[in-house]
Structures are given as structure tokens and as C-alpha cells.
């Protein structure tokens, strides 16, 4: 192991080069994250220009807020454990087997990620609501929050761990099996230790998403369930108490920081044997394999598919009764009746444009940051790692208002439309880093040495070897970045912006009007969002498949 460790810590660029990689992500995050967050926090904590420590003490000693903090942590831990437990078997199936419809199904796992909470909520109500088909009413309970978090975050585990898993040489597992180890023992002693960095990475993401959960808790939970994020929002919009909101935002950030540091200990990279060449995984051959794969796929279809099918089905029920496409044609006719409705084509074009920008920014910044992290084992790298992840643990309120307070100078960007993709990229960059980092850290240095022997410059060697080897991971991150941007609503709504409504905003406006016609149109718009996201993710998935003869 020691020998391996010494291999991976070596950067292809030397010390200076690794340092240079850090510069761009650092500048980006400093200007668009640290500066706004510090500015709004200072502003929030000093109403009328003076800091009032009593607010901090009030917040810390409030029974209600202590309860909120405890619940935030508790539900996030449970949600993460549950999502990993349900997602790992699916990651295994997607990594180790080939089956018909695999690419479509893998792309579909990302669809829930983009759906507005209220829309998902209606599907959940139909299943587990007071008048639901199952006769089990889970509304307002912790269960419905946990189930929704699994529904939303399932793809993070399946796709994140799956992409890593499929690169692990099956020969390692085969060797263990041939030495007489049982399947379970092979998994426990060979596969699991190898997967550890990917599991740690993805569960950190799931944890952060659940920890800062807003819509799910607000809409599916009840008045007794509240997260710090919900409380920040309530203090801001109902009480206009920025001082309390800022105090809560700092506590949330500290909480996220502590948790991430604990994760950091599990994320230490190990060099692993990546499979050489693209191996097409086999179809499930034995009866046991078939049963296992079937069971896992059935679970996925049930958990993710059922609510989605309900939504699609409902979107086809016409507001005046009967089955058809009235909701879809209403999407186009409603804007003519009232300007509060968005032309669906405009919304789609706006969303795609923002998502494209956000993805490009996230890939550029994320890959540079991830590379810098992989090639350094110093303590500074761990601090940098933490710093890159923090935007995901920051309240949307903080980011939105932070932009407003900070970005007036030197160029006034405060009402710039570019803030939307930038805000989306802030959320997507941690994904990019977490999905590429485990792979990037495990590229074997001897490959680069071989390239150098053949006359390649370090940059060229990195481009042709590292980047290709981690291209899958980059594609996984890019797909997430795209989906995050397509579905993002929270931060967007806190940014002052020119009228450039995205699909989620168009859905929000439809949901804001009475009657089954606008509501049906909102469902139709949500289905369009699902389809567009699914197709785009599918395209990214196909593009990433390395060509034959690749490394």
C-alpha cells in the first residue's frame, strides 16, 4: 500500500503546476461564494451597523431552534443511510451487468432530481396520502421525508458509485472467488474496501442535500418538522429577521464543515486496479444473478418509476375529463389568456441556455479543482477540498442575498442574468469534484511515466491519460450539473433577475393559479422537464462511453 500511496501523490505537473491548477477555482469561488457569503453575513449580523451578540445567544439558547438543529441532523443521517442502502445494490447491477434498456434506465434515475417538490408531492399523496391507493397515510411523518429524500438522491449513489465500480477490474473479484471466498466475503473484503472512496464521496453529497433540504420538508413534512434551511427562510421572508437568519446560516455552515471534515478521513484515496479497455459487462448468466438483477431493477422501477408514471398518467387526464393531450395544448394557449403564464418554448430555451452555461462552468472549475486535490496530499489540499464543498451546504437565501450585497463592484452584476447559471454552478461544482475525485486520485503514475518516456509533455500526458481515464466520471458530474441547473428553483428565486423564466419558474406560476386547467398544465410542463432532462442525460451518457481502443 505504501508504495502505491507514493505513486499517487505525485502530480503530473510538479508542485508549481499543481499550485497553478488551484488558482482559477479559488478565484471563482472567492468572488462568487466566499465574498458574497461574508458580505451578507456581516450585513445580517450588524443591523443598524452594530453587532448584537444577544441574537447569537438567543438563537443558541432557543429550545425550538435546538430542536430544529437536532431534527436537521437526524433526518439527514437517516436519509443518507437509507439512500446508500437502497442505492448500492443498484450501483452494482448497473456496473456489473448488461441488460436491455440499461442506458435508458440509467438516464431515467436522474429524472426525479429535477422535479419540483409540489409536483412530486402530488404523486406521493396519490400513493401514501390520506386518500391514497395504499390506504397508508404517511403525510406529515418522518417517513415521507425519508422516502422523498431517497427518491430524489437515489441517482447520486447509483450513478456516482456505479461509474467508479464499473472501472474496477472484475479480475480482482474473480481472483478472490477462485480462492474460495464466498460472494459476500468477496464483497466485504475486496469490493467494499475498493469502493470506499466513492461511497464516502457520494454519501457526503446525499448528506448535504438532505441536511439543507427545503421543499421536501416544507411541503411533505408538517409544522412539527423543520430544518435549519426552512427556518432560515421563515426568519427571512416571514419575520424579515436577517440577523437571526444569518446566525442560523453560519451555524448551518459550521455543521456542514464539521461533518465534511469527518468524511474527509474516509475519503483517503487508494490506488486501485482500473480495468484496462472497455469491458462490456456480461448479461446475468446464472439463475441467482438473474433473480438478484431482477429484484434490484424491480425495486428501482417501483421506487422511482411509480411516482413518475403517476405524474405522466395524470398529465394525460384532461381538465374537463377524458384522456388526451389537453394539458399539453393548454400550455400553449394559457399564455394568451394571461401574461402570468410563460410560453413553454421560452421557458425551455431559457432553461437549456442556463443549464449549458452552468454545466460548462461546473466542468471547468470542477475538473481543475478535482485535479488539484488529487495531486496533493498536503493539509492545504484538505482545506481546499472542504472549501469546494461548502456551497452545497449553504442556504439559497444566503447565496441570493449575498450576490445582491457583494456584486455591485467593480462591475454591477447584481441584476445580471449570468448570476443564474453561476448560482447553479456553485451547487454543481461539488458534484463535479466528488464524482471525478475518486477516479482522478487513482490514476497510476506509471502510465504517465510511460507517456513521458515516449516524449509527451506533462500537460499532454495529463490530457491523454488522466482526462480520458476519468472521462466517465466527468460525464457523470456533467450530467448532474445539467440536471441541477434544469431543476433548480430555490437560489434562482432569491436572485433579482430580468424576466427570463425557466421551466421550474413556469411550473411555479402555473401552480399559483386556481383551477384544474393551470394545474394540469403544470403537470404537463413537469413531464416535459422530465423528458428533456432524461434525453439530455442519456445523450451525455452515450457520449462518455469510451471508444474502442481507448485506454
Amino acid at each position: 500500500m505504501d508504495r502505491d500511496r507514493s505513486l499517487i501523490t505525485r502530480s503530473p505537473f510538479g508542485h508549481l503546476g499543481t499550485g497553478a491548477l488551484v488558482v482559477i477555482p479559488t478565484l471563482f469561488l472567492a468572488y462568487f461564494f466566499v465574498y458574497p457569503v461574508v458580505a451578507i453575513t456581516v450585513r445580517g449580523l450588524t443591523p443598524e451597523g452594530v453587532f448584537n451578540p444577544a441574537v447569537l445567544l438567543d438563537v443558541l439558547s432557543s429550545r425550538t431552534l435546538q430542536g430544529v438543529a437536532a431534527f436537521t441532523l437526524w433526518q439527514a443521517v437517516l436519509s443518507t443511510l437509507l439512500t446508500v442502502a437502497v442505492g448500492l445494490p443498484a450501483a452494482w447491477v448497473f456496473a456489473r451487468f448488461d441488460f436491455p434498456g440499461k442506458s435508458v434506465m440509467r438516464a431515467a434515475t436522474l429524472v426525479p432530481f429535477v422535479l419540483p417538490t409540489l409536483v412530486v408531492g402530488t404523486a406521493f399523496l396519490a400513493l401514501i396520502g390520506p386518500k391514497g391507493v395504499t390506504d397508508i397515510d404517511l403525510t406529515g411523518t418522518l417517513w415521507v421525508i425519508l422516502i422523498a429524500h431517497v427518491f430524489y438522491n437515489y441517482a447520486i449513489v447509483v450513478r456516482g458509485v456505479g461509474a467508479y465500480w464499473e472501472r474496477i477490474d472484475p479480475a480482482l473479484e474473480d481472483a478472490a472467488r477462485s480462492l474460495g471466498a464466498s460472494r459476500l466475503r468477496t464483497f466485504r473484503t475486496v469490493t467494499l474496501p475498493l469502493l470506499k472512496p466513492a461511497i464516502a464521496s457520494t454519501s457526503a453529497l446525499v448528506f448535504l442535500f438532505s441536511f439543507t433540504s427545503f421543499g421536501v420538508v416544507l411541503l411533505l413534512g408538517d409544522i412539527n418538522h423543520s430544518t435549519i434551511e426552512v427556518e432560515i427562510w421563515r426568519q427571512t421572508t416571514a419575520y424579515l429577521r436577517l440577523d437571526i437568519a444569518s446566525t442560523l446560516a453560519i451555524l448551518q455552515l459550521i455543521g456542514v464543515g464539521v461533518i465534511l471534515m469527518m468524511y474527509g478521513r474516509y475519503q483517503r484515496r487508494t490506488t486501485i486496479q482500473f480495468a484496462h479497455g472497455t469491458i462490456r459487462p456480461p448479461r446475468p448468466a446464472t439463475a441467482a444473478d438473474r433473480i438478484a438483477v431482477g429484484a434490484v431493477l424491480a425495486t428501482t422501477a417501483f421506487l422511482l418509476g411509480l411516482p413518475l408514471v403517476i405524474l405522466i398518467g395524470r398529465s394525460l387526464v384532461n381538465p374537463q375529463g377524458g384522456i388526451g393531450f389537453a394539458n399539453y395544448s393548454n400550455l400553449f394557449s394559457l399564455p394568451a389568456m394571461s401574461a402570468s403564464f410563460v410560453d413553454p418554448i421560452d421557458a425551455i430555451v431559457n432553461s437549456l441556455r442556463f443549464a449549458l452555461f452552468a454545466t460548462v462552468i461546473a466542468v471547468l472549475i470542477g475538473v481543475l479543482a478535482s485535479a488539484a486535490l488529487s495531486y496533493s496530499q498536503k493539509r492545504t489540499a484538505r482545506v481546499f477540498d472542504l472549501f469546494v464543498m461548502l456551497p452545497l451546504g449553504t442556504s439559497a437565501v444566503t447565496i441570493g442575498f449575498g450576490f445582491l450585497v457583494a456584486l455591485g463592484w467593480p462591475i454591477d452584476l447584481r441584476t445580471s442574468v449570468m448570476l443564474i447559471p453561476i448560482a447553479h454552478a456553485l451547487v454543481a461544482i461539488p458534484f463535479m469534484v466528488r464524482t471525478t475525485n475518486p477516479s482522478m486520485g487513482s490514476v497510476q503514475h506509471r502510465l504517465r511515466e510511460a507517456a513521458a518516456t515516449l516524449g509527451a509533455t506533462p500537460a499532454r500526458a495529463w490530457w491523454t491519460i488522466d482526462l480520458r481515464l476519468v472521462s466517465r466520471a466527468i460525464a457523470v458530474g456533467a450530467a448532474f450539473a445539467f440536471a441541477i441547473s434544469m431543476g433548480e428553483f430555490g437560489a434562482t428565486s432569491f436572485i433579482t433577475r430580468p424576466d427570463s423564466p425557466t421551466i421550474p419558474i413556469a411550473i411555479f406560476r402555473l401552480l399559483g393559479r386556481p383551477g384544474s386547467t393551470p394545474f394540469g398544465a403544470a403537470l404537463a410542463m413537469s413531464v416535459l422537464l422530465m423528458v428533456i432532462t432524461g434525453v439530455a442525460v442519456f445523450a451525455i451518457d452515450v457520449l462518455r462511453t469510451p471508444q474502442a481502443g481507448d485506454l
Binding site: L118, K131, L219, F401, T496, P498, I505, P514
Partner: protein, 346 residues
């Protein structure tokens, strides 16, 4: 008349000051209107302002009304807009106390309902809506219950578990309904609003996070379990209009309503005060006022504005709608909500 001369002189003076200060023309090329997510006017309506004045209106959207007020407060010294539209009576005092506005008496203000106006014309009322209990006519008939007539009726066992209201800490109609109950059962009364709400909870009132959840998932019309919901007096005409119906499927309980009034004001940091004033005049003028109802489903503040037929035919206007002083709301809002949450959680 004297008053008007003074005002014109003032406008001219400000224009001169602004012009000399900027060295450019007195009228800017564009003026920025800060508003909330629900703002909408028909295509062409705002363009008419450009035809009149040569100035383009740029709209900047900023979340909900509360979020918008905070944004304006945060940028007070270096404003991102010239005029703010959409601050309502629940947040108005905070905005006024923060010194956000330059008082301005709009041209044509005589046509605006005087009940809606604010002392000193710090801001100008543009539209209003009444938050009232709505009921599903068919669903109530099916269980054989008459529509409730007042807040007291909602405690009747025959309506047990049939009402859904929005959480006042996360929803503006929810807050409006809470204040309607406070007006009916005031603080300090023998039977106060807290006692009323305890009884309402005992009668199985359901709490939704926001209006969409209440109206589009919990309400019987949406397939939910509650035929009574806190919504707007304008919801029945909206149902008719969007659904292309001939008769409203819902009715309005005309007691226990709360009036939400939306205002526009000139932001104090503006460089274009004169043009900002013209924009306020424009917002209460008939072309905008008559365009407001079908786009935002609220009522125009200008009494001369002709209501669209669907409003005239299908609206039951509340007999009495609570109009609460913005100052009273500001003073008590947080305490009321916090006390309500305590009742809701116990």
C-alpha cells in the same frame, strides 16, 4: 389647486436638480421596476409607457413580496431599481420605516379608492385582493352541509376535518387569514384568537405549507379531502376563466375576509425621480388598471377601471373585509406568527 401648482413646481425642481446632477437629459433611456414573482401584465401594456414618455421600463423580478422588500432594504444605498411594485400591507411598514420610499402623490389619485390610500402618499395603492374561505359547492352538497357563513361556523362539528389553511409563517394568504381571525377575536378579548385557533385545531383544521399545496392538492376540487380552503375572493372567477366554464364550481364565504393591498413606491436612491413618478401615474392609469385583473387575478385600485366580464359575473365581494393598519401589522406580525406556531405544534 394651489397644491397642484406646488407639486408641479416641485417636480420641475427635482427634474432640474436631477438633470444638473447627471449632466445627461432629464429623462433617462430606461427605468427599472422591481417587482415580485407574481407580477404580470399583457404584452404591450408596459410598452405604452415608452410611447408616452420615450422611456423603456425594465422589469426586475425578485422572489416573493417579503424577499423583494429585503432586497430593496439591502440595496437602499445603491439601489437596483427606481420603482418598487408589489409591497403589500403586511410588509409595508417595514419598508416605510427603512426609509425606502420618496413620498409621491400620483396624478389621477382621485380615482383611487381612498380607503386604500396611505397617509402622506408615501406609496400608491395599485391593486387589492380579499383572502376569504372558499368552498367546493359540489363536495359540500354531497355531504349535505350548507356553506359556512362566518368564522364561528368553522368550529361546528359538521365541518370537522374539512378545512385546510396555509401556515402563516410560510404563506401570505395564510398570514392574511390569521389576521382576519385576530381582527374578529382580538388580543385581550375574553375569547381571543388563540382560543379560537385551539378550537379550530380541535375541529381538525389541516395546515398546508403554501397556497398551491392547499388549493391544488388538499382541496376536494383537486382530489384532496378538504372542501373548505383559504384562498381569494377572485378564485371563483379564475376557475371560470381558466377552465372555460359557465358557472363557478366554488363559492366564497363573505365574512372573515382580509384585504391584501399592493402598493408601488419611488425608491429613495433613484436618480430619476421625475420619471419614476410618471411610472407610478402610469400604473394607476386605466390601461394598466384594466389589464391587472386577468393577469394577476386581483382588483384594480382605480375605481374607474372597468372589470372584465368574468369578474363582474362570478365574484362575490366580501361583505366586510378586514383592513388592518400596516403599523399594527408590523408591530405584531412576528409575535402573532410565533404564538400561532406554538398553538399549532401543541
Amino acid at each position: 389647486m394651489n397644491h397642484r401648482v406646488m407639486r408641479i413646481a416641485l417636480v420641475l425642481l427635482t427634474t432640474a436638480v436631477v438633470a444638473s446632477g447627471c449632466s445627461s437629459d432629464s429623462a433617462p433611456d430606461e427605468i427599472v421596476l422591481l417587482t415580485h414573482e407574481s407580477f404580470a401584465l399583457s404584452e404591450g401594456t408596459l410598452e405604452a409607457f415608452k410611447d408616452q414618455t420615450g422611456v423603456t421600463v425594465k422589469v426586475r423580478t425578485a422572489g416573493d413580496a417579503g424577499t423583494m422588500v429585503i432586497q430593496a432594504i439591502l440595496t437602499k444605498d445603491n439601489p437596483i431599481a427606481d420603482v418598487m411594485y408589489g409591497v403589500d400591507n403586511t410588509f409595508l411598514s417595514r419598508a416605510v420605516n427603512s426609509g425606502l420610499f420618496i413620498p409621491y402623490t400620483a396624478r389621477g389619485i382621485e380615482s383611487v379608492n381612498p380607503l386604500l390610500r396611505i397617509d402622506g402618499d408615501i406609496v400608491t395603492p395599485i391593486d387589492f385582493g380579499d383572502v376569504c374561505i372558499n368552498y367546493d359547492i359540489e363536495a359540500l352538497a354531497a355531504i349535505g352541509s350548507p356553506p359556512p357563513e362566518n368564522l364561528g361556523d368553522l368550529l361546528d362539528p359538521q365541518y370537522e376535518g374539512l378545512l385546510v389553511v396555509e401556515d402563516p409563517s410560510t404563506s401570505s394568504p395564510g398570514l392574511a387569514f390569521l389576521m382576519a381571525t385576530i381582527a374578529a377575536y382580538p388580543d385581550g378579548a375574553e375569547y381571543d384568537w388563540k382560543a379560537y385557533w385551539s378550537d379550530l385545531f380541535d375541529n381538525g383544521v389541516v395546515i398546508a405549507a403554501d397556497w398551491s399545496e392547499a388549493y391544488s392538492t388538499r382541496f376536494t376540487r383537486a382530489g384532496g379531502a378538504q372542501p373548505l380552503v383559504v384562498s381569494y375572493a377572485s378564485s371563483p372567477p379564475a376557475e371560470v376563466f381558466y377552465g372555460n366554464l359557465t358557472e363557478a364550481p366554488t363559492g366564497v364565504m363573505t365574512e372573515g375576509c382580509f384585504k391584501q393591498i399592493e402598493y408601488a413606491g419611488i425608491l429613495s436612491g433613484t436618480q430619476h425621480e421625475a420619471t419614476a413618478g410618471q411610472l407610478i401615474d402610469f400604473l394607476i392609469s386605466l390601461p394598466v388598471q384594466e389589464d391587472i385583473p386577468l393577469n394577476m387575478f386581483v382588483y384594480p385600485a382605480n375605481r374607474d377601471a372597468v372589470l372584465p366580464q368574468v369578474f363582474a359575473d362570478h365574484t362575490t365581494l366580501p361583505e366586510r373585509s378586514v383592513v388592518m393598519e400596516p403599523g399594527t401589522i408590523e408591530l405584531n406580525r412576528q409575535r402573532w406568527i410565533e404564538e400561532w406556531i406554538e398553538i399549532a405544534r401543541s
